[in-house]
Amino acid sequence: MAAPKKILLSSPPDGGWGWMIVVGCFLVTICTRAVTRCISIFFVEFQTYFAQDYARTAWIHSIADCATMLCAPLGSFISNHLSCQVGIMLGGLLASAGLILSSFATSLEHLYFSLGVLTGLGFALCYSPAIAMVGKYFNKKKALAYGIAMSGSGIGTFILAPVVQLLIEQFSWRGALLILGGFVLNLCVCGALMRPITLKEDHKHPPEFLEQEYVSEAQKQDLKQLSICSPLIKAWSHEGLCCCSWQEYNFLLMPDFMVLAVSVLFMAYGCSPLFVYLVPYALSVGVSHQQAAFLMSILGVIDIVGNITFGWLTDRRCLKKYRYICYLFAVGMDGLCYLFLPVLQSFPMLVPFSFTFGYFDGAYVTLIPVVTADVVGTASLSSALGVVYFLHALPYLVSPPIAGWLVDTTRSYTASFILCGFSMMFSSTLLCFARLAKKIKRTQLRSLTRDTDTKQQIWTNGATAYSVSGDLDQKDVEILATEANR
């Protein structure tokens, strides 16, 4: 029997190697989200070289973005069954191959495949596993860690946009795509950083197992972490090969998760058109080109600020219990900003709008993984994040064209902005009602049932059981305290 590679920890370390994971996730966000946004810088070159118009060239960006989100569940599936490191490294190699193939493109359709599908698929294999990993390593400072990790897309776009422009000037678009392919290879480095971690809370099981079959249960859990379903598990559980994958996805039936999923659909529908239509709207109300570009820069920079500060804020002890409410507040505020937008008809009024929208946009982006982790727990976080990002894909795809159609038919931006505003406010109110309903149900149940939680055995069980750091004592004390208070 091979020596186990996993170290069982009592609770997330909240530091130490966790910060390296945050750095890794930050780099993953730069290499995936920022690079996707910078693809649009190549469009002018593609239009000239292939003699095509803007609409056909813009499909490349849509295909890449859509592929990244649609294949997010595939990414989390691979990282659950192989390992996070292997999944992210594979994704990095795939994305890099896509970019390198694009540098030899001879037609726009070639680019649709290599730069759109292949690169998007590679990014999908990296994005959600990396974010899930951050959640496993942090508990007390989870929101701050996520804030730092997610700010990578804003900072990355800020830095990469002029760099890509410079590369295109020096090496033309073929050379620039080749070098960008090399840059994206750094995803393999991020993958190597993602050291696996197994938390004791992933192994909670009912007391009867502990007493009789604790050996097999531990083996079962370990094997589940390490490999695909083996005959051993089939023998123990008598449920067949689909037990593993079903067990991974049983969070889908949780009512909390279903509510979150529906609200994410509406939220994703509302948030994407602004980045496409803010500049045309500003130009239509008489703002100059430089001022419109300045508005977009404000949005980008304040997005980063919102990521980090909101993450830090929601980690404070007073706000930690109310993270869900902070999330729905941020989404609601963005919806409200949308509803005010048609009234803002001059540059001095659009600047505070950019500040507010950008801040809360960064805020809720940070909290999406945190809220998901709170709903499904860290064991299924990877798969849950895959599903959540998958649900972003379709709204991202249909929302800008629908908004564009509304603008064309009604000849003003009011209708599309109002629709997006209502979509986001609906998402926020849905979450609010769900939380209220849950609270009412809990107060009813509390009077009826007693607490029959499993008693946590303090002894660790595994082929090697020892503490990683010297402060296991303190952590055990904390666990005892939390168990007693439940």
Binding site: T48, S172, G175, L178, I179, L185, R195, V215, I458
Partner: protein, 327 residues
């Protein structure tokens, strides 16, 4: 006769652009921040491929005037002419009426003094004007008494901007060079390429090498196929207007595939080194933890070793109870 008159006193040494653009039957011209239009009965010829002989000059004359005093600095003005027109250049000098000294006036074109009869001099207002200018050039009016003041009108056709930066392409690839003239539509475009020496050869549309695409009249695209090292030179796109021609320059730089490959290989090497370092560090730290952990356990725990025989191997489990078991 309409007068476009602008007092430029105080705007010393800066360029003011006045443009003459033809649209349908009216002439619209902009002077600084004002826009004036005057409609004539002659038909305009915009962007069509009429020969230069068929265009008729507009009725009436457009006057470009400069006002200044003896103390002002030299004034420069750019006048862009798209099609033939009657232009009057007027310099108004105001001097104190008590000043009775005579003022010497000369008009120069490109530093040659003009002696034509179309130069008039109005004593009361000191206005000079010339008429029926059909030639581009720099016209200067010079007033001389004890000091000298002058104003220069640069009459020119619309300028074409090429690309300041090189266009980069690779050996064996194809490239498209673009020249645009956004506001004014030229009659035709001609491409030239440099020859090493300062000569410029016209680019002949050979089979398989050069293609000129003129889908829109104000954009021209030269497509060069199967690029080789000798295509690394400058190209000029010449726009032919009714009153003259102007050129824009686009230079092409040809690289081999090795050029971007070097940074790519450098980054790939950096990635491999970092991945190796991280994996080595991980193996090292695991070994360290294993030794440290076992030692700690042995020293502080109630050891309870359970061995389970499982197929051909033995699994050892160490249960360490540091706290009383909760029942």
């Amino acid at each position: 006769m309409s007068i476009c008159n602008q007092n430029l006193f105080g705007y010393a040494n800066h360029y003011t652009q006045k443009e003459l653009v033809k649209s349908q039957k009216c002439v619209i011209f902009t002077v600084g921040m004002g826009m004036f239009s005057r409609c004539s009965t002659t038909a305009a010829a915009d962007g069509s491929k009429d020969s230069l002989n068929n265009t008729q000059p507009a009725q009436g004359t457009v006057v470009f005037a400069v006002d200044f005093r003896f103390s002002s600095a030299p004034v420069e003005e750019n006048v862009i002419l798209y099609s033939p027109a009657n232009i009057a250049l007027s310099c108004n000098l105001t001097s104190p009426s008590t000043d009775s000294a005579t003022v010497n006036v000369t008009w120069k074109k490109d530093n040659e003094t003009l002696r034509s009869s179309s130069v008039t001099f109005n004593e009361t207002k000191h206005v000079w004007s010339t008429q029926y200018i059909n030639q581009m050039g720099n016209y200067t009016c010079v007033f001389k008494r004890d000091q000298e003041v002058k104003a220069t009108f640069h009459l020119q056709v619309p300028q074409i901007e090429g690309k300041e930066h090189h266009v980069v392409s690779y050996v064996g690839d194809s490239v498209v060079l673009v020249c645009k003239s956004i506001k004014y539509i030229p009659i035709s475009w001609i491409w030239y390429m440099s020859n090493g020496s300062d000569q410029q050869l016209p680019v002949s549309v050979q089979w398989n090498k050069y293609t000129v695409d003129e889908k829109y009249a104000n954009i021209t695209k030269l497509k060069i196929l199967k690029i080789s090292e000798e295509d690394d030179r400058s190209y000029w796109c010449q726009a032919v207007f009714k009153l003259g021609e102007s050129k824009g320059k686009v230079s092409l730089k040809v690289l081999t595939y090795m050029t971007p490959l070097k940074p790519f290989l450098a980054i790939a090497a950096e990635v491999i080194i970092l991945v190796a370092i991280i994996f080595l560090y991980e193996m090292y730290s695991k070994k360290k933890q294993m030794h440290a952990g076992t030692l700690r356990q042995l020293m502080g725990c109630n050891l309870n070793v359970i061995s389970v025989q499982r197929k051909s191997s033995t699994l050892s489990f160490i249960n360490c109870w540091r706290f009383p078991k909760l029942s």
